[in-house]
Point group: C2
Chain length 313, copies 2
């Protein structure tokens, strides 16, 4: 599927009643530190606390009425689980979420809080897929992938669309990359609505499969990720990778201390609660700041769902 | 001095080039918990991170050019110290800040970072006043009190003015009370711009001098305050107290765990970094929520300058 400008326009119109148009924040102090003008798209203020709400909503709204009757299913222990549960609730349909039995209770509770049904499985890839298949076979629910899905990608792209609408002449947009839903959506939004805006990804050194894939020209799966940025542990998919390969300018890797230091800036100077994954894009920009002096830069703060007791400062 | 509607209008116009018009946030989840519609005035996003910037700016702008040449001086280890330093810097004048020698280094550094000169003194009231007098005598700087000053009070009142301008039909506005600058300014703003809006204060049980003064009808000084809300440790002044006595509807006291629990809600659900003092107003509303069902309520989030390493969760 080739995602066109019209696809993105239709997506934004379709989901706009069910998502927040999030604000764009600036910080003169961070601008001074980096030597550039930064526009932060605050998806931490999105419904359920992350951009994932956009893609989940779009994917659900694409379903036929018959499909909706049986509900939707996914496997996720992160923000997509909650996003799907809430997006399904807002459409009055059922959401089944397969989660590893060792996922934090707080995350299971959040999915249930949004009305989702949690189905636990053993904490390994095979159990996850088997359990998901069982759920789909038993309930007739439609499986929606957390990121490797064109409708999800379109939905995630609407964050950058809004940012570009607000600030038309950005030189670059920085976004974090995990499975690539946000990054590929952002790249398509820039391509269609602001072709001179380069899209650059930040990725943790301890989970650098996207960087490796980007270098090698083919998907390199993520094994044993090790990073505080717990939203960025997954591998790219066969739908997200080609878009990233073709339309993303660069992927920059950052160390853990660089992520924490960027996160601290966002808390201390912007007074925003963000999750570590959100700080990865800013960390990448800061690391390479010499290259971006005096530019106008968009940074997507992807979400704010952090366990307060586990803040790294 | 009687502060009129025109005083407040003039103040707002005078300072508006030097402060942020802060946004008003809402949270459907917190509304559900409290059973009311809450409009949060986000002074954590104010310049230097707290409403104090408003009063400091107004007090400085009232000075004659001759006075400005000699600069301004204050004693504070809190947000007013930083606010005065930054407000003075923006007017190109000098600020001297007397701080106890045991004040956290990070706070001294913040004042210096804004270009203020820190003068350390022994950590007791007498040393503070003696040192301040020395500074004033030596430099000719004008002493500006952190809250017991009509121009400061007018400046702090502009936060509620803006909130009322944005949401005209509020039933109540909740604000925290320490020395009473914000509370008295808020009460005057409501009296002049929305006379049907009641102003209610939240105060920590461990620093309840305002509540005691309010009950007794005269100023009861604060001794040995003990609360996480480190912006609310001071006593009312002879300028703030009469305004509070005459125009504030009620003062509600809250326990430490109620403050922390309200603070957690603001972090987790609103994704906002606020200092403990900011959570006191919401804590008071939650404590007495039965009385405020289905009302429209303003809550002033006073500031966001918190030491991240000392978060209570």
């Amino acid at each position: 599927m080739i995602i066109t400008k019209q696809h993105l326009l239709d997506t934004h119109e379709r989901i706009s009643d069910y998502i927040h148009r999030t604000p764009v924040f600036t910080s003169s102090l961070i601008n001074e530190i980096v030597g550039t003008e930064i526009y932060f798209k605050c998806e931490n203020f999105q419904k359920m606390g992350a951009f994932k709400m956009r893609g989940a909503t779009n994917a659900i709204l694409q379903l036929s009425n018959t499909e909706k009757e049986f509900g939707v299913a996914t496997h996720s222990s992160g923000n997509f689980a909650q996003a799907l549960a809430l997006a399904a609730k807002l459409q009055g349909i059922k959401a089944y979420v397969v989660m590893p039995s060792n996922a934090p209770e707080i995350k299971k509770a959040a999915v249930k809080g949004y009305g989702g049904e949690v189905i636990e499985c053993e904490p390994n890839l095979q159990a996850r897929e088997t359990t998901l298949n069982e759920v789909v076979n038993k309930t007739g629910a439609v499986f929606l992938h957390p990121y490797n899905d064109y409708y999800v990608i379109q939905g995630q792209g609407t964050a950058a669309m809004e940012l570009i609408e607000d600030y038309a002449d950005l030189d670059c947009i920085f976004a974090p990359v995990g499975g690539g839903g946000l990054l590929s959506g952002t790249a398509l939004a820039a391509k269609h609505f602001s072709p001179n805006t380069k899209v650059i990804a930040g990725e943790p050194m301890g989970a650098d499969d996207a960087w490796q894939s980007f270098q090698k020209g083919e998907i390199v799966p993520q094994t044993n990720p090790n990073t505080i940025a717990d939203g960025l542990l997954t591998s790219l998919g066969d739908k997200t990778f080609p878009i990233i390969r073709d339309y993303v300018e660069d992927i920059l890797r950052v160390e853990e201390e660089e992520i924490i230091s960027a996160m601290r800036l966002i808390y201390e100077r912007m007074k925003l609660v963000v999750e570590p994954s959100s700080a990865v894009a800013l960390a990448a920009l800061i690391k390479e700041k010499e290259k971006y002096q005096n530019q106008k830069i968009g940074v997507i703060l992807s979400g704010g769902n952090v366990q307060l007791s586990k803040l790294p400062f």
